[in-house]
Symmetry: C3
Subunit: 381 residues, 3 copies
Amino acid sequence: MTEPVTIPLSELHDRRAFLARASALTLAIPGVGAALTACSPPATPSRTDTTHGAPQAGAAGGAAQGVNQPHNSDSRLDSAVLKGGPHGNTSATGTATQGAQSTTFHRFAPELPPLAPGGLLQLRWHAREAPVRISDDTVVAAWTFEGDVPGPIVHTRVGDTVEFTLTNDAMIPHSMDFHAAQIDPKHAFKSVAKDQSLTFTFKPKWAGAFMYHCGTAPVLMHIGAGMHGAIIVSPREPLPPAKEFVLVHSELYLDEAPGDTHAANFQKMLNTMPDLVVFNGRPNQYIKDPIRVKVGDRVRFWVVSAGPQYQCAFHVVGEQFDTVYLGAPPTSAIRGVQTFAVPPGGGMVFELVCDIPGEFPFVNHSFGHGQKGAIGILVVA
Amino acid sequence: MTEPVTIPLSELHDRRAFLARASALTLAIPGVGAALTACSPPATPSRTDTTHGAPQAGAAGGAAQGVNQPHNSDSRLDSAVLKGGPHGNTSATGTATQGAQSTTFHRFAPELPPLAPGGLLQLRWHAREAPVRISDDTVVAAWTFEGDVPGPIVHTRVGDTVEFTLTNDAMIPHSMDFHAAQIDPKHAFKSVAKDQSLTFTFKPKWAGAFMYHCGTAPVLMHIGAGMHGAIIVSPREPLPPAKEFVLVHSELYLDEAPGDTHAANFQKMLNTMPDLVVFNGRPNQYIKDPIRVKVGDRVRFWVVSAGPQYQCAFHVVGEQFDTVYLGAPPTSAIRGVQTFAVPPGGGMVFELVCDIPGEFPFVNHSFGHGQKGAIGILVVA
Amino acid sequence: MTEPVTIPLSELHDRRAFLARASALTLAIPGVGAALTACSPPATPSRTDTTHGAPQAGAAGGAAQGVNQPHNSDSRLDSAVLKGGPHGNTSATGTATQGAQSTTFHRFAPELPPLAPGGLLQLRWHAREAPVRISDDTVVAAWTFEGDVPGPIVHTRVGDTVEFTLTNDAMIPHSMDFHAAQIDPKHAFKSVAKDQSLTFTFKPKWAGAFMYHCGTAPVLMHIGAGMHGAIIVSPREPLPPAKEFVLVHSELYLDEAPGDTHAANFQKMLNTMPDLVVFNGRPNQYIKDPIRVKVGDRVRFWVVSAGPQYQCAFHVVGEQFDTVYLGAPPTSAIRGVQTFAVPPGGGMVFELVCDIPGEFPFVNHSFGHGQKGAIGILVVA
């Protein structure tokens, strides 16, 4: 188990100087030189530690030192401040593994939820460590918004108001960064310490499929450990009627953890070799239990690539998108598309008309990744 | 040599439950947990098996188990059902290595073939294992459409009819997935057993450079072993006159195989570290024997990224594209482009005017890949 | 220390036959077969040599042989012709490490420089090996244009004239490839031997953020060792007034080198696992010393992805781009964008309006890379 490091008050004074160190995760203090000379294998190499040999160990060595930095709770780029130990570089913190065996699997509902009435969406969320069962026999020790990965789907509209409160139940600081908001991150997206809360309000200016995520440093770790999701912003002038679904694409970098769980491993994230690649947090969940629509339906997929590292080359087998919005709908449309790549940290909107019945797999056509769990089925009946 | 596994009849009943297992290749049965605990090196580690150490071995360990699953011949996501053995996880199956030494190298002609007369294109293709000589001294044990990699270039037109028949001469099931078709994959793209045939018909709705590939599970393996190509759909209203060429970009993940050949290796595909990256199946073939046009010609490259994993950042040295069609031409055009990335499983159309003579290399400007064979030359004289 | 290989005159005759060998860096002579069988670890394996185990060693083994090829000084794809030795496969050549300890760090100024008067820009640049301090305690042995990485920002305008002269002060051949030029690379971009010069002239046809780089083979090595930069072409009809900045995104693949420096390592480039990922050559330099604008300013980022391998998923935390030009501005615009990926070897233009004060980090949202140094801050006050 890990504990938050005590924050030296002196660290709170100079945010920028701190960021220059803490966010430069491959740069060990006092710098790159040290990181690169720290390339010898650790004394007690674990399976994970030796993944890519020396050069990556160098990078990760720097990173490992980086996450031992004290943090600055006034910053959105705070260090995660993980202490060492056998699971010190993973998400197996606090309550992330507690009750794992009794955690049940549930399919993540992909339907776009309705808009809040009155143009005001009030969200009171908790950041917390929690085990999440991603398949019948696998539980991940996750860092979450509201106990699930991805976090809840948010649906709002251009010009409506989102009032968001984050309360942190976790041992380490967390924060919230909505890509749909134009707001000063220094204040709105700053880290929240355990048992503290923070509220901010914004009005989305552009329609689209936007990512949200914890922005606390190291961001790579917080996204990779599960703190990500989608905020869908509809335009004020409605798009054509459609069955609307939200797909959040992400990678999992897993290590063993206590209680027969698996934890997100920061060093593996730096190595950028994912074990699983998924839609809405669970490998192949929509093969087992597909997304279903009717013949004649227009289907609109709001696709977010949460990463933390990779794009999603989104494709539906046996279908073609009549429209893909690269930017804010109804602008920025291209037509007649088989596959388009949604960049990590980005979102795009994919539309097709289901004019024939059938079973249409949707995939990440980057199949070295798609084959690791990013396949689902759209049933048209 | 490998043999197809007998199909238990019980497996034919529940297609979806099967897919949930068989397509989840990193998930060993009974699940992720097993895959991740199967991380110890194999008893007799080969050079390839230890490529990336434990975590990838974990992923591939699951995969290795996955490909030993029985298959469901009624599914487009059938398992490839390779049995174990020294080459059990590669493309060195059946006749893929037979006659390798007498196989001759030929340059893959990149010219867009003419349209079929009468608006009807009838294709009667065979899936078969065959050695393909990709350079003077290298032969790859390939899974092919019509004996070559990539498969034949198909050229049709929006609204024309394509009538396609696949006969499977290979030992394991294969299938065909045309990205230009809107059709139920459950029936049209389903796997065809040895010595069986399947016919389907479609009319392309959108113009563009579309990928085709074998869709039999594991798709990653079937694409990576050679079963991919391009179907070019011209719009009914002709685009400006041009010299038209087709480039299919792909990666090779090679292992040693019998008869002094090299075989596509599934585990290396999961590791996503290609040995070669090529246009039209052969490293640097158009350096040795360039593509030639005349001063004043407009050149139209129909570029397909077959992957199986990576995009192609297409660029022509010394030139600029006046038009790149991100979607179906003549829509979705952007202007004045140096480089654009064609996503894996996607296609785009790149146009330039050759107003000066010279030798213009075309490359994947993602040079860690481009340097592995994705360089050619366009000679303007 | 390395020396250029003597050029056999016989090599000068057949440029194309040479290119077929020299540019095929993963193909050892006599071919792929040799490369793939050269997979056993080198007799004296270094830390770097064993990075990814056998398959990558195979690829790099071929590459290592490739760079020992003689070169053809009449070609833009010349081999870099590095001799062997402990640092023979790195950028630690000639004067690249001389005076490293006394080299000072300087922040790379990101401001777009003014246009040259009179529509004529005359550039007389030198290619040279030089140590570059990229952080307080790290010096890189670099191959440079004008002694820095990236090279100087060039700013011109559609239809203006750029007259460029390259003089090579380095031990190995170098060249210049401007993506903003439509010109015969065989002559304009050809390699220049030590103490020689070459001049060419061009008039850009399209506006945009274009990459320039050394095009001498192996291109991967010359880009990765530091020979890259940005040439910004403004349209003749000015874009809306804005504060304009240039960001060149690139990766560093580092090995130890003499004099307490680090050298770019070719084998690590082939392995595509970067140690650092940066804007304008230095990790996180704009966290320590941000880019500053005023409330109400429109900001225009001209972003070039130099690679050599990866795209940049460009994002500004707390902001949204009202416009991203995928092609030549003012054409090819999309609106309301959170993140878009600039392909390697490509460039795009990102605009936002700073209507609120704050501190807005700009990042590569592909965070496995962003976390390695591609984070800066835009301060709006």
